[in-house]
């Protein structure tokens, strides 16, 4: 076990875990931030996506030791009262079905819009292609991102 100081959603959190523990399990089990999901454990589905210093990363393959001293943002910290433009757009388009992958989808899309506020259709697909949705909500995800980027009605 080793102690780590983590900056999660603007708060300093101290955890004592094995240094190889993936950030995902520290968030979910230790810090009780269960909005970040476990899907594949190998970085192939995107359900565990969080931001490290603003970059979208797969928390299931990111050891906690790599996350120390970086700014960690999870779905719980994306906005006050679900007011991020993407969260509003997700509600307006009624995107989620089972909802399990949606935290990761939104975090992935948020990292995209932070860099490219008005992405093209191809840039959206390129950025989102690593995030799986077994319910097949892709069509509404695309619409919601376009809406959040100011292109939708």
């Amino acid at each position: 076990m080793e102690s780590f100081a983590l900056r999660v959603n603007g708060r300093e959190r101290h955890v004592s875990v094995a240094p190889d523990t993936p950030l995902l399990w520290v968030l979910r089990d230790t810090l009780e931030l269960s909005g970040t999901k476990f899907g594949c454990g190998v970085g192939m589905c995107g359900a565990c996506t969080v931001h490290l210093d603003g970059e979208a990363v797969r928390s299931c393959t990111t050891p906690v030791s790599e996350a120390a001293n970086k700014k960690i943002t999870t779905i719980e910290g994306l906005s006050e009262s679900s007011s991020h433009p993407l969260q509003l757009a997700w509600v307006a388009e009624d995107v989620p079905q089972c909802g399990y992958c949606q935290s990761g989808q939104i975090m992935q899309a948020a990292a995209l819009l932070a860099k490219k506020p008005h992405p093209s259709e191809a840039e959206i697909v390129d950025a989102m292609n690593g995030n799986l949705c077994r319910c097949g909500t892709y069509q509404r995800i695309r619409k919601a991102i376009v809406r959040a980027a100011g292109g939708g009605k």
Binding site: L78, P96, N129, L132
Partner: protein, 705 residues
Amino acid sequence: MSEVTRRDFLATTATAAAGLVVAFHLPLSGGTASTEFAPNAYVHIAPRGKVSIVVARSEMGQGVRTSLPMILAEELDCDFATIAIEQAGASTLFGDQTTGGSASVRTCWDPMRKAGAQARAMLLSAAAKQWKVAESECATADGFVVHSTSNRRAGYGSLATVAAKLPVPAEPKLKDNADFKLIGKRQPRIDTKSKVNGTAIFGIDFKVPGMKYSLLARAPKFGATVRQIDDSRAKALPGVTHVAKIGDSAVAVVGDSVWAAMQGRRALKVTWENGPNAGMEESDVTDGLRAAAKNKGVTLYSSGDVTGTQGKRVEAEYQTPFLAHAPMEPQNCVAHFRGTECELWAPTQVPQDVRDSVAQALGLKPENVTVNVTLMGGGFGRRLEHDYGVEAALVSKAVSLPVKVLWTREDDMKFSTYRPVSLHQLSASVGEDGYPTSITHRIIAPSISRQKGTKLDDGLDPDLKDEGSFIYQPANVLMEYVDLDTAVPLGWMRSVYASQVAFAQECFLDELAGAAGKDPLELRLHLLQQDKQIKFFDTVWSTARLRGVLKLAAEKAGWSKPAANGRYRGIAAHGCFGTYVAEVVEISMQGDAPKVERVVVAIDCGQVVNPNILEQQLQSAVVFALTQALHGKITVNAGGIEQSNFGDYQLARMNEVPVVESYFVKSTEAPTGAGEPPVPPFAPALCGAIYVATKKRIRTMPISS
């Protein structure tokens, strides 16, 4: 159950789901407070006016927590925006609570309308009594009873105490469809906000105080058993607390965290005793189908006589592979065994089956097993199995602590139950006009139900009766079924046999059209030209309704005009779970590979409850079918399943997903299935489009094989 646990949980849920309080409904543990008005198990109204509606099906993304309450709220005339939802656990009050077979709206339609109408009738009586006016002068709207001539109105809450003392009408009057205010209108899902801010609590997120985490090492080959366990290294790891043999074919590693249990399982050494199928390979699967094809079949459907028909013969064979459901949330369950009772929090489609299986496994009475139903990260039929619930109960008993059993993605891929393989032999006699006069379809596929222990009295798998329809009517039709054994565990997957049956039948109709130089739509409409009612076990199919969806899809897709340059189209239709669906799939070719650009779906599922959710289901089913058609294949290797994660079992990604256009036939017929019926037509319509582009017939799924 312990009060502490229940309170903890309810508190967790209430804070977690901010904006939407979904409480577990435990009707067996004391019922509702006596001051509440609860005319039946589905609804109760508090004196302050809060209307709570109980959902007795499981939410796995298909929207039952929105669509089912809409049905009740419609008849109750309450304000839908302010209702509270309660999730029923395993109960005896709601009949069969299985969520499957596209049946939730179908089977809850009558009881939930009646439940709402009962409550409304009693509230109206209560108001009329208080005001001393005739009931016929009173009306209801948005949670109030109104007496317009005297300009009086009373909220439902204020009438609850009086209404509770009135007799419950056995047959309350139901609304005419024309008077629906809620049903048939687009309504946003009530769970959306909780699913965009991380507060929705799925099974995998659920915790109880003092809970441990467990992963299981399972037999790597079909039928293998544990011979020897070496847990010295595993137990030496920090955070690993227990190792226990569970049943004959699994060993549980228990720890203080998921990561500890994962590390522990990695360090665990189990020696396995192989069973008779340890050497099974994929070639055995194909050989098994071929060998079974030589057996005599059982008649599934017969019309006319196929034996005496003359004319040109056309024959073709089609094959489909095993498939895995692969819901995004891996299997999991929390169980707390407490000596004489056990409580579970299970993401399950079958709470009552989980209750009964756990009771049997633990030697408890079913009434001493409580099953709470959590939100599910997808189901698709995988959570019709009780395996992970029983595992959690057994591990909790083994360590005498509350335990969450978690499966990894690899566990889910390798130790699932699989959509069966199938072989289809089709043959037809074609008349001089190019239309078939007889069609024979032999379905060779292992029976899911028989493998699970159901005796097939008539030799037919029961699911084929809901999913194996053939509505087209040449003069003579014969459908036969041949069952066979397989060591691969079988399960029901979204649309079950329908996606296989329709793939073969609809591709074959395309081949008949091609052989006769006819348009695929025209040939289909010809075979549906007479209005006929076709009895197929419990369903009476209508040629007119199948014709209706084909025409609607074709019209919306612009079938009568040539496809745009570089675009190719196919069309297919199927009826299952009482519903008719036709799809036009439009593709482009990128080298040798098809790219699906556009899918037009037309569905006739009777009265539409929520067009917003129905549209979601159509989009979802197309993507699900696209995964099957482009990628879906589970194979056997060295006595086990070859695939392990999303690298070798690919799901459709955003770059492969087309624009889906959804069209609903306007209908006042009672609702029929919606979640599964849009799956089957996709693959044959895609293959039709590929044929137009390449002149190659695809007869094996997935198309890359």
